[in-house]
Amino acid sequence: MQRHVTLRLFRRGPAAEVTLTLLVLLAIVLLFTDATWTKTNPVRQAIATTLYPFQRAVLFPRDMLKMANEWVNAAALIKSENEALQRQRITLAQVSTNAALLSAENTQLRRLLGVLETAVDRPTVVVEVLYEPVNAFTRRIVFNKGSRAGIAQGMPVIDESGVVGQITRVTPMSSEAAMLTDEIVSIPVQVLRNGLRLIAFGSSAPGKVEVRYFSSDADIREGDQLVTSGVGGVFPAGLAVGRVDHVERNPASGFARAEAQPASHPERHRHFLVLQVPTGDGLTSLPSAATISSTGLAGATDKTK
């Protein structure tokens, strides 16, 4: 018995410590590369492509149950949806006639002032949530359409109430988006009341958006509506971002910080719209994780939970 054990000891592969060191080094290299550059994307894409059939297979029962539930409750569902849509249609009809008037007035004023015409309507892609990944550190959603449907990294994602987030990664069949409350996303915003231009970041506090880097005497207060300002060319102007719920002014440093509640409710819906904004010219790509950690350290004034 003892000899048997000794023989097997010799026949074992490389010593456990060697394998451990190699694999730990490999893991650390992957972590570092993944956090700083996008060079690990091919690896991710390869694994995600092989995972995709398993993910669809495993989510198949849930989709079947959903379909069965909808089929059984079809009549009641359609009736309630219909009523909700009718109500929405009436309020929107009012808004759209007003918008048409304002648009005509706007064009005339622009012509009078000699200002250039603004951007045209962008093509969009309707996507559905495939699943929400488990992650203690980030808030992401995975959609069921990818680069094959024309989605690229950096494109904004919206729902009917406002901005939901930004696409961070695409594979041929799926895409991942970071919600606007995730620290990786920063949106140029404008206060609706007075046009003050600011930048909104994802906050470390869960479910909130943080406005940073503005001076202590800026005219922003609780209840202010934040909308996208269109600066930067990624997020089109006028999309609702959130509502400020408190402002922290620090007279000692001269800077202030505001927290806003996002306008969109991505957890309530399954379908979202991805705006196909042209990206990839270097100016409109997402910040890498290296800049996130540095802004996270620099911008953190009071991160106690």
Partner: protein, 174 residues
């Protein structure tokens, strides 16, 4: 009649077929793709099964297999590539380092031996993860590691069931 805590690692290792080992791992892996892991304190069932087989069938299931499974979970969870892989590798190394000692005990005592392995590997993962995002994610990971350890006796017993039946059958035939 051989009891669970009398069986040495050598004889246990030879009675599990390759198909059974990989079938259980792949089944739990596919189940891990479902959204029940949204609960932050969810036990790491895939890690449990891989650790079990790394103890009972260390020739076939080792740190490399653990690394690859961890990598697929990283991609599925949209997390930093290599984080879960690191946790799986550290857990399997820790378990295999005390393989001969652990397998001499019964299942409940095994889980006490493995507690520092599970908690330690998870702690390293959480530290690296929070370093990458400059934020502490709370203490729910500790519940997850404790729950994982608590599930060890149950999972081990379930995975050993076919072998108990085999042993019983062999014992009955003689």
């Amino acid at each position: 009649m051989p009891m669970a805590h009398d069986v040495g690692p050598e004889s246990v290792e030879t009675t599990s077929g390759v198909g059974y080992v990989w079938a259980t791992m792949l089944l739990v892996w596919v189940l891990s793709l479902l959204p029940w892991r949204v609960w932050h304190a969810a036990p790491e069932l895939l890690l449990l099964v891989i650790t079990f087989w790394s103890l009972h069938d260390s020739r076939r299931v080792g740190m490399l297999v653990a690394f690859l499974f961890g990598l697929t979970l990283d991609v599925h969870d949209v997390g930093p590539l290599g984080l879960q892989a690191l946790m799986f590798v550290l857990t399997v190394y820790g378990a295999q380092a005390m393989q001969r000692r652990v397998l001499r005990f019964d299942l409940l005592q095994q889980s006490i031996h493995l507690l520092p392995v599970f908690v330690g590997a998870k702690l390293v993962t959480v530290l690296i993860g929070s370093f990458l995002v400059s934020a502490w994610p709370g203490w729910s990971w500790l519940f997850s590691a404790l729950l994982t350890t608590a599930c060890w006796p149950l999972v081990s017993w379930l995975l050993l069931l076919p072998q108990h039946r085999l042993d019983d059958a062999e014992g009955g035939s003689t």
